[in-house]
């Protein structure tokens, strides 16, 4: 890796190359004074040149800039005399062109990079002058709307389903953020989850979403109340929905605009504030109710008056917070299945807790967490809950964290053992689509296995555990009716699928009764939690028709460092297993002598 001085030398050399070829020899660029290059501190430019294009008829002046990372970074071009902002797409407010955010460059060819950019800029300006790229405003509506948001507005978090038709909705207005959802219950529930029930959010107000045929161009963004009405008229059922939710009791009214762009659904928020009219007595009156007793203005007339009266319109950005966006940005087909799934995680330790989090991140709609233990300081180094949860219930704290992190989903907890749960409320396990048992305790696992074989229980149970020092890990997905967990375990919990052997089998103990532990780190653990979470998701997505065993074998160096050996039988089956560092999938074969399922 070159040091800072070497990088600076590389930058100066690249700048010289550009100067030599494009300035001295070509005469196409002229170096700008450094002060000009540094005039936009936010951009961090360190050098620049000016140039002229004639894309169609007019001469266009551009500046080419490089930052301190050049030639490793992509130079930027600035249109010196741009048309009014948002007349042409791909030109930012300060005139900098947005050519291709995904461009990668060969740092050894700075001149070639600049030549490519000049060509791209020229093509963009040609298309812009000929108005060939106006649809780009629609395809990237979200960005342009954001740039044209009104000063002082707060973002709107949208929980709305990302599709039409135009319909009624609810909006909660807070100090720093507004939240829009399909109904008041959904909005307030989300808010309570998000804030951890710290403060009662109050009420949401009636609002709506207008679903437009296509995203508007910047020139069509609402500036006046009549513009809003015009937009509503362009949306099927738009004026009717607006009429249903306006009220003469409110000085302002906000709603959401939505449309499907070439890049997916997009949103913007509009707020309409009535102009204050003062009567001859000097009192403020709301002219929308003129001629009617208060509360008796027909809604269509009220809407018509509101949107034809003088008033102020402001635009806010909308940030999607709906689960379809969060879990795969509308593009992950697995989410539609996962959002309806209900999972229980038994054991919220070093494996169960990360697995629960990964299932929540993947979009599983409801997770129940069961664990009788509290978090100890010794757990903190490899448990997703930190110091703030020490001496608190692992399951409760985990549910609290997930509820706040994923306020649209449902997380419950039981601070109790599996046995208590099965005894007190077995139905909360029976109604799950999947149970993940991550206790590594044979008593719990064998009870779960016996329960699965005898009761009306979920189709899949995934068991996960690790071998000493986390040098290997296992995830077994037991399918209802298939070979059971016991098939590869002795009556006292010895597995016949061991990957590693150890000269001293006894685990390390803390200076306390029963406080045994295995020294291992969070990195090797992450392979095993991914193994278990992956198998759990596959079970939910219907990809595991038969009981399946997944093994992660750690790298040999890890095993050697910990003083272990590969299990002789396991290695004998396939010699290449000796190197370790891989994942393997095997069928969980039945055992004719299994006392549980045979």
């Amino acid at each position: 890796m070159p040091d800072a001085a070497a990088l600076a030398g590389r930058r100066e050399h690249a700048i010289s190359e550009v100067e030599r070829v494009l300035c001295t020899e070509g005469g196409f660029l002229r170096r700008l004074p450094n002060a000009d290059a540094e005039a936009m501190p936010r951009r961090g430019f360190v050098a620049g040149w000016e140039l002229s294009f004639r894309p169609v008829e007019r001469i266009r002046r551009l500046n080419l800039y490089v930052d301190s990372s050049f030639p490793f970074s992509v130079p930027r071009l600035l249109l010196v005399d741009p048309p009014p902002f948002l007349t042409w797409p791909h030109i930012e407010e300060d005139g900098v062109l947005c050519l291709d955010p995904r461009l990668t460059v060969d740092p050894s060819q700075p001149v070639g990079v600049v030549q490519y950019l000049l060509k791209s800029a020229h093509d963009l300006l040609v298309d812009s002058e000929l108005r060939k790229n106006q649809d780009d405003f629609r395809a990237e509506f979200q960005s342009y709307w954001y740039w044209k948001r009104s000063e002082g507005t707060v973002p709107v978090y949208s929980l709305l389903e990302p599709h039409g038709p135009s319909r009624k909705a609810s909006l909660w207005r807070g100090q720093g953020v507004w939240v829009a959802g399909e109904n008041e219950g959904a909005v307030l529930r989300w808010l309570r989850n998000w804030t951890g029930n710290q403060k009662e959010p109050g009420a949401a107000e009636a609002s709506c979403i207008l679903w437009l045929e296509r995203p508007p161009l910047p020139a069509e963004y609402s500036e006046r109340p009549t513009d809003v009405w015009k937009l509503a008229r362009s949306a099927a059922g738009g004026t009717e929905v607006l009429s249903e939710v306006v009220s003469e009791d409110r000085d302002s009214f906000a709603f959401i605009l939505g449309a499907t762009s070439a890049n997916g659904p997009c949103f913007g928020a509009v707020k309409l504030s009535s102009a204050v009219v003062r009567n001859v007595m000097g009192r403020d009156v709301n002219s929308t109710g003129k001629g009617f007793r208060r509360g008796h203005v027909p809604r269509p007339l009220l809407a018509q008056r509101m949107f034809n009266a003088p008033g102020q319109v402001s635009r806010s950005e909308v940030q999607r917070a709906d689960p379809s966006w969060i879990h795969g940005r509308d593009r992950d087909p697995r989410y539609e299945t996962l959002r309806t799934c209900r999972v229980a995680v038994v054991g919220c330790g070093a494996i169960g807790a990360p697995v629960a989090i990964q299932l929540a991140m993947a979009g599983v709609g409801a997770v129940l967490m069961i664990d009788p233990e509290v978090l100890k300081w010794s757990n903190v180094g490899r448990h997703p809950l930190g110091a703030g949860s020490v001496d608190k219930s692992k399951s409760s704290e985990l549910a609290k964290k997930l509820t706040s992190d994923f306020p649209h989903a449902v997380f419950e907890s039981r601070w109790q053992s599996l046995g208590e749960t099965l005894f007190k409320e077995p139905q909360i396990l029976q109604e799950r689509d999947l149970i993940v048992c991550a206790t590594g305790i044979w008593g719990v696992e064998s009870a779960m296995n016996a329960w699965q074989m005898s009761e009306n229980v979920p189709r899949h149970i995934v068991y996960s555990w690790m071998e000493p020092h986390a040098c290997a890990g296992h995830a077994v997905g037991i399918t209802k009716g298939g070979p059971c967990l016991q098939c590869h375990f002795s009556a006292v919990g010895d597995s016949d699928t061991k990957v590693t052997d150890w000269p001293e089998a006894a685990p390390t103990s803390e200076p306390a009764c029963g406080a045994i532990y295995q020294p291992y780190g969070p990195v090797e653990l992450s392979w095993i939690t991914a193994l278990a979470a992956g198998l759990a998701l596959d079970c939910l997505l219907g990809k595991i028709p038969k009981s399946t065993h997944r093994i992660w074998a750690g790298p040999r160096a890890l095993l050697d460092a910990a003083g272990g050996y590969w299990n002789r039988d396991w290695v004998a089956a396939r010699r290449e297993r000796e190197m370790g560092g891989f994942q393997e999938e095997l069928p969980w074969a039945g055992n004719a002598t299994c006392p549980i399922c045979s």
Binding site: G27, M40, L51, S52, F53, I59, D81, Q115, H122
Partner: protein
């Protein structure tokens, strides 16, 4: 746009003659050229004379048609050392007949969007001597533009047909030109038909035709010229403003009259920069002959007073050959001493274009507006305007870049 751009005044080394470019720091980069003196030697690549035509072109913008252009061209008067080379380097004719669009940039003649000309100056000069070819051509172009304006009833006149007539002509010949006429003492702020917040100029000369024959003769013999006191700015409001007084070759009698006229309100003559009249001629300050009387010659108090309204840290520039302590005039050593005395009192500086930066190799003398007075800009910091990138050039560049695989479109396919 936050980029800083400075208003500049550039004096080109054209020997005894004038060629001065004002570049305003507005968004349109407005350029006003005062006179031109591009000698054949300067055009000859084999000759060592400074190629001032190239210096000028390097500083000009290109218009929407790719033509090098000035927004306004002021001809102070018709002497050859103020208009030499105009027919060769500038296009004079109807704008829709500009013939050089298909030529290379370096061969395109400079397009003049608006001419500033004084009929009275031409009238006085032509009575004394025949006009040179360049002056004749310029005068014809001025008349063509006046006719074009009349034809369009002074409305929607296109660039290339525009003209400002500086000062009234005799016998009411300019009475119908109100829309394009700037009367004596009038302040105007438009350049090329548009209001310019960085420019404000008061017309101080030529003085109108005198009813007295003798007086009129004096004015004619004193190189009647356009005299403008221009206020230039670097930004529309609250920024620096500096005055630049230019008076062509106007000589002593004219400056005396101006002092008589303005001595009670001398601010009309105040300047931060003065282009020393008539290339630092003794005759702008005295009726005597320098070669005959040298230092014993009498300096006109009134003329000197008119030319002494310098502001703090002001500059006086002699656009001339190097000034030697001899009998030459212009430039005149005695005049230089007088001007040096003027600038000394203001803690300013006297410059001679033929000596800048050194006598052996003069170069354009460019001034930036500064917090106090004017700041010289060394030649090394001045670079030529870039050539225009046409579609063909850009396509070829794009093809080379593609061949070299210097970039990968949408190449960023790894995420973190």
């Amino acid at each position: 746009m936050s980029r800083e751009r400075k208003t500049t005044v550039t004096f080109f080394p054209v020997d005894n003659g004038d060629m001065t470019l004002i570049a305003l720091a507005d968004g349109s980069e407005t350029k006003v050229l005062i006179d031109c003196n591009i000698r054949e030697a300067a055009d000859d690549p084999e000759d060592d004379t400074r190629d001032v035509a190239r210096d000028l072109r390097d500083r000009l913008k290109r218009d929407e048609n790719g033509r090098p252009c000035v927004d306004a061209f002021l001809l102070s008067h018709s002497d050859q050392d103020h208009c030499r080379g105009i027919t060769k380097h500038f296009y004079l004719g109807p704008p829709n007949e500009y013939p050089d669009d298909k030529k290379q940039d370096s061969e395109k003649r400079i397009f003049i969007r608006e001419i500033w000309s004084s009929p009275m100056v031409f009238r006085r000069a032509s009575k004394l001597n025949p006009l040179c070819d360049d002056a004749v051509a310029f005068n014809a172009e001025a008349k063509r533009r006046v006719a074009a304006n009349r034809k369009k009833k002074f409305s929607a006149v296109p660039e290339g047909d525009r003209i400002l007539v500086l000062g009234e002509d005799e016998n009411g010949k300019t009475d119908d030109l109100t829309a394009i006429l700037v009367k004596l003492d009038q302040v105007f702020t438009k350049i090329n038909g548009s209001q310019n917040d960085l420019f404000r100029a008061r017309l101080l000369g030529p003085l109108p035709k005198s009813e007295k024959k003798e007086d009129e003769e004096v004015l004619g013999k004193n190189y009647s010229s356009v005299i403008l006191n221009m206020e230039l700015a670097d930004s529309g409001s609250g920024g620096i403003r500096r005055s630049f007084l230019t008076g062509g070759d106007a000589e002593v009698a004219i400056w005396e009259r101006l002092w008589e006229k303005y001595k009670k309100s001398p601010s009309a003559l105040e300047y931060d920069m003065l282009q020393a009249p008539h290339h630092c001629s003794w005759h702008s300050l005295s009726y005597d002959s320098w070669s005959e009387k040298r230092e014993k010659g009498i300096v006109s108090k009134s003329a000197k007073s008119a030319l002494s309204q310098i502001l703090r840290r002001g500059a006086i520039v002699s656009s001339s050959c190097p000034i030697k302590d001899d009998d030459s005039d212009p430039p005149c050593y005695g005049a230089k001493l007088e001007y040096e005395a003027i600038v000394k009192g203001a803690k300013g500086k006297f410059y001679c274009t033929g000596e800048y930066p050194k006598v052996a190799s003069p170069a354009p003398l460019e001034f930036l507006m500064a917090e106090e007075g004017w700041e010289e800009r060394s030649e090394g910091t001045i670079s030529k305007a870039p050539a225009i990138l046409t579609a063909g050039i850009v396509d070829a560049m794009g093809a080379r870049a593609a061949e070299a695989a210097a970039v990968k479109k949408e190449g960023n396919t790894r995420y973190a």
